[in-house]
């Protein structure tokens, strides 16, 4: 019996993938990137994934934050996304459930050009010798998490998997692949700790049950980040083997 996701995409939680899509990658943005992975309840993860994606055993919650430096073309901004690790066919992917950006202009641009839906929030990424601390506030604290005891590692040990986002395109729900390229120049790893997590906020009210259970691993890198154009979309309702298509073919 397939262990597929069971969630139908709620259009109100999906970005609009418009015809104003980005067809070129952004210029490289110098950034610092925090990624924290913890275990999460597998049945809750399954309940959040569309049928085209299947959960892993155990469930994995991934928090990813990056702070773009002031020297970037659009200036400094911070973004945080929360997702669950999954598979699309045989491929490792992360299904992004919710995202926050601290710059309204960037948030609007991200939805226009990538169908990337986010909420504007206050984001703080504080670096200390003993920890990197991330806080997201949207009226109240919706996330507080840390990377404890950062220690240097070879950059190639850090792996970022491509993200997937629910989108509405040509009136239909799709899952869009959100591709970023990271050129990592420095990396640290450490132990992730999630001390506050508002499941309802990050899942758009879908569940109060998503939580960080056992810590797995975390990293903090200095990297040049490029956002690439959307190339692939997946039909969300087809189970087992993901029906991945080139966006250009869908557009016709």
């Amino acid at each position: 019996m397939p262990l597929d996701g069971v969630n139908q995409i709620d259009p109100s939680l999906a970005g609009r993938l418009s015809t104003g899509l980005s067809r070129r990658p952004t210029p490289q943005m110098p950034a610092t990137v925090l990624q924290l992975a913890t275990e999460a309840p597998v049945e809750v993860c399954r309940g959040l994934l569309p049928p085209a994606l299947h959960p892993l055993n155990p469930g994995v919650l991934v928090i990813m934050a990056y702070e773009v430096a002031a020297t970037a073309e659009r200036g400094s901004f911070r973004t945080v996304e929360v997702g669950i690790q999954c598979r699309a066919g045989a491929r490792a992917r992360r299904y992004v459930l919710g995202a926050a950006i601290d710059d309204p202009g960037i948030a609007a641009d991200m939805e226009d050009r990538w169908g990337y839906l986010s909420t504007v929030a206050d984001i703080k990424l504080d670096r200390r010798y003993e920890r990197i601390e991330l806080t997201v506030r949207a009226g109240h604290t919706v996330l507080r998490a840390s990377l404890l005891g950062p220690e240097p590692v070879t950059p190639s040990t850090v792996l970022y998997v491509a993200g997937l986002r629910p989108v509405v395109f040509q009136g239909q729900p799709w899952i869009a692949q959100f591709e970023r390229a990271f050129e990592i120049s420095r990396a640290d790893r450490g132990r992730p700790v999630v001390s506050e997590f508002d499941s309802q906020w990050w899942t758009g009210g879908q569940t109060a049950g998503l939580s960080a259970t056992e810590p797995i691993s975390g990293s903090f890198t200095r990297a040049d980040v490029t956002l690439n154009p959307t190339r692939f979309v997946i039909a969300p309702g087809i189970s087992r083997a993901a029906d991945t298509r080139r966006l250009a073919d869908v557009v016709g």
Binding site: M1, P2, L3, A37, E39, H54, P55, L56, N57, P58, V60, V62, Q85, R87, G89, A90, A92, V153, T154, S156, T157, V158, L159, V161, A187, R189, E214, I216, S217, G218, S219, R240
Partner: protein, 367 residues
């Protein structure tokens, strides 16, 4: 050329007690049949928490049953996860020895370190230390069997002076193997005199290069007298043998696809843990990475032993030509194939393929 079975004990959801019992019963029946048909090995894997993919959490118990139920086939305990949080090395030495006694010296001892976070994390194992613990196990377990008194102060385990009992029948010890998936592990194997127990799927060309490196080191290796050198390369493969090649491709494709699907649920250490200890995904689920552009039937990876007897002979000859000494077959996955058709496939393989490859008089298919 030698041939074995790889029993994964995969159970489809929902894994009712009845379904689990049926898979175990069929696995015993397949091993008994393999014993009668002339297969050389039956391997029972060790996995923990891998729902659907493998319910083989206590392979030593199943192997004990197979020691009684079979007469001549060798019993592969493998691979034993050489991580202290999962298996203490003294307990491993004891279990292998008892099994060797009960089977009259038919045990092969496979070693490994687990590639999934599902398993390592479940025991709070430390991914950074699994290479070290594996190396320390394979170095010291033969010493446990060879020394009247054993003691060890080590990095991943320590043992005060004790007698490790009982001792295996085979001398100096049962053949030892290591699961090889990530590139480089074959070097670790050769440097320690261990047999290469392939546990993932790769194309011919990639494997040929790695085998050459393995042989080069192994050929020049000298071991202490209490160590046995196992200069042998086994790969893993699917088996579906049928007179009708198209039918075989359809059924074998179903087997391969199911196996891949089950493997995809497992969370690989490399995917979530920032550690230099796991540079690649490792493990078996690399069917999807088969060589692009190779001639293959849909759903069946390159080099899979799926087809008519003539086709399978041809495929095995090609594996043999690059230096492979044996192949372990996955014959079913979560009972996606009917138990009777699995045994029909095994019988046909034994009748039409084995004699042509065992005799040494290898002929090309169709000639």
């Amino acid at each position: 050329m030698k041939f074995g079975l790889f029993l994964e004990l995969s159970v489809s959801r929902p894994a009712t007690p009845e379904a689990e019992a049926r898979v175990f019963r069929h696995s015993v029946e397949d091993a008994v049949l393999a014993d009668k048909l002339g297969f050389d090995h039956v391997w029972v894997v060790e996995h923990h928490f891998l729902a659907e993919y493998s319910h083989s959490g206590a392979p030593e118990v199943l192997l004990g049953a197979l020691a009684s139920a079979t007469e001549r086939i060798r019993l592969g305990h493998g691979v034993v996860v050489c991580v202290p949080e999962i298996n203490h090395p003294v307990r491993v030495a004891e279990r292998i020895a008892v099994l060797d006694i009960l089977s009259n010296g038919r045990v092969d001892f496979g070693t490994g370190r687990s590639s999934t976070w599902t398993e390592l994390g479940g025991f709070y194992g430390d991914p950074d230390r699994t290479k070290q613990s594996w190396s320390e196990y394979v170095e010291n377990i033969p010493r446990m069997w060879a020394s009247p008194l054993f003691s060890h102060q080590g990095v991943t385990f320590s043992v005060p002076e004790r007698q490790i009992l009982p001792r295996p029948v085979q001398q100096p010890h049962p053949p030892m193997w290591v699961a090889v998936s990530s590139p480089g592990t074959e070097i670790d194997a050769a440097e320690r005199g261990l047999g290469w127990l392939g546990v993932n799927f790769s194309g011919y060309d990639a494997l040929a290069v790695r085998i050459q490196k393995y042989r080069a080191i192994m050929d020049g290796l000298e071991l202490d007298s209490f160590r046995h050198k196992n200069n042998t390369v086994y790969t893993v493969n699917f088996l579906y043998c049928h007179e009708d090649a198209d039918y075989a491709a359809e059924r074998g494709g179903k087997l391969a696809t199911e196996f891949q699907y089950l493997a995809d649920q497992n969370l690989h250490t490399r995917e979530v843990v920032v550690t230099p200890s796991y540079p690649t995904l490792g493990g078996i689920p690399t069917v999807a990475q088969r060589d692009a552009g190779s001639e293959k039937t849909k759903g069946v990876p390159e080099g899979a032993c799926v087809g008519s007897p003539d086709q399978i002979v041809e495929i095995i000859e090609r594996w043999q030509s690059i230096g492979v000494d044996g192949i372990n077959f996955i014959i079913n996955s979560a009972e996606v194939l009917d138990a009777h058709e699995v045994q029909r496939s095994m019988n046909l393989f034994a009748e039409k393929v084995l004699p042509r490859l065992k005799s040494g008089a290898v002929t090309l298919a169709g000639v």
